[in-house]
Amino acid sequence: MTSTVGSPPMRAGARGRRQHRRGWIFVGPFAVVFALTFLAPLAYAFGLSLFRDQAFFGGTVFVGLGNYTQALADANFWAAFLRVLLFLAVQVPIMLVLALVAAFAIDSARLHAAGFFRMVIFLPYAVPGVVAVLMWGFIYGDHFGLAADLNHLLGQDAVQPLSDNWILTSIGNIVTWEFVGYNMLIFYSALKVVPPDQIEAAAIDGAGPLRTILSVKLPAIRGAIVVATIFSIIGSFQLFNEPNILRTLAPNVITTYFTPNMYAYNLSFSGQQYNYSATVAIVMGVITAVIAYAVQLRGQRKER
């Protein structure tokens, strides 16, 4: 305000300033709420992570990076981290390949009633995660689930989805069931905008359907694949709902530090260790961001 009173700015400057204000009219409200829900908690978490509760004397003391060195040496944390890493390495490729195959199949239009298929495969995404887990939990269960029916049929306990050896696979199955449709939709909508003349050109050059997919369509939707991969990686690192809800059914198999997110949650809400919990959350956030960024860089390099 004072600057406009002082020296009359040049026309271009005034115009630029007006543009400046105009833009913020629209972006401002978002930015304010964003600051409150993202930036402030982030700053607060960082602040918390520098202190430690004194169990017996009360109050907190400044420990600098002490919590971070503790986290990096914490066997529970690393066990949880390696578990989601293993989960991610197996589940994400399976899910994305299934989604790609479904998207290509529907896009190739050979399939009758493509719209129907698209909708059905997408359906699980509309099912709340909690409901999906409850449902699969029942199905896995040995009381009255399909697993129990199957065992009954086979006459032995062959299928035990909630046992130690199978639990990660069982969780992977739920996550795959929930999100194949969502990823399929991302791929499908990217396929929709592949220029038709490219596909025609490939056909004229004598490329069969498979060849067209591999040399034309797949490269064309690389951007979508990178985005879906990043979202899936972030999702895996944040794994919480599925194991946490299944815990009621398998409390001895799923520990309170089964995944990093569960660990952070239980540190806060069962252990009252807020400072350490914030540290674990930040460490996981940094790891997730670095990996997501690396995937994005790699994806971009390939695109050139």
Binding site: Q19, A40, A132, I139, A190, T288
Partner: protein, 269 residues
Amino acid sequence: MALYLLYTLIPLAWLVISATKTQPDLLSTPGLSFGGVFALFDNIGQTFTYNNGIFLRWLGNTVLYVVVGAGGATVLATAAGYGLAKYRFRGRRAVFAVVLGAIAVPGTALAVPTFLLFSRLGLTDTPLAVIIPSLISPFGLYLIWVYATDAIPDEMMEAARIDGAGEIRIFLAVTLRQLAPGIVTVALFAVVATWNNYFLPLIMLSDPDWYPLTVGLNQWNAQAIGAAAQPVYHLVITGSVLTIIPLVIAFLFLQRFWQSGLTAGSVKQ
């Protein structure tokens, strides 16, 4: 493909069939066949009346969180995405970088600290604790930003300015209609995210009166375990079916809009 269809549908079929069974039938009959008694309507009635009709209360809470949270998220993301796409202003690049960064680091790093901060502010255990974080959809902003870049020609805005329209007026009268498919897409995904949200309300709320359906259903499920176990599996299952239905209907009805919104959104990836 047909195999995949079965994989998708069998669990859902199991759920719907189970919703028609009484609790004893659930335990004694095979999963994919109907029970001796068709108890669907009885189950629905019980779901709504059990525990003084708390299910209805949870449904109301969910609707409240969805209307205010997802509705607000759509408004904020639409305005901000449009602002970022169509105005050159100082700080624009910074906003964009920070928001894209936020897509990469949500949930894990934020949920617990947000709880701690909100608890300092006295917001926990109130509806605001669920609504405020739901108001931000970085993905929605991104989608609208891409969409507005394509769908709103600068010439159109200039023409409106020459006619004497203010910026807000241009946004309301000219832009919104052009953005409609993008907005429907963002709204639908925000609704799903809020309707299905579990982690956030789980940590923010301790009073069952403010629970959304997701947290409430899991509480019903969990009460089957422990010393004072009171299994109400048939209600959990029926409640689950009732929780899914509104979303499926929304997706089916708005199918054409949101799918075209997504398609346009992926052009520029």
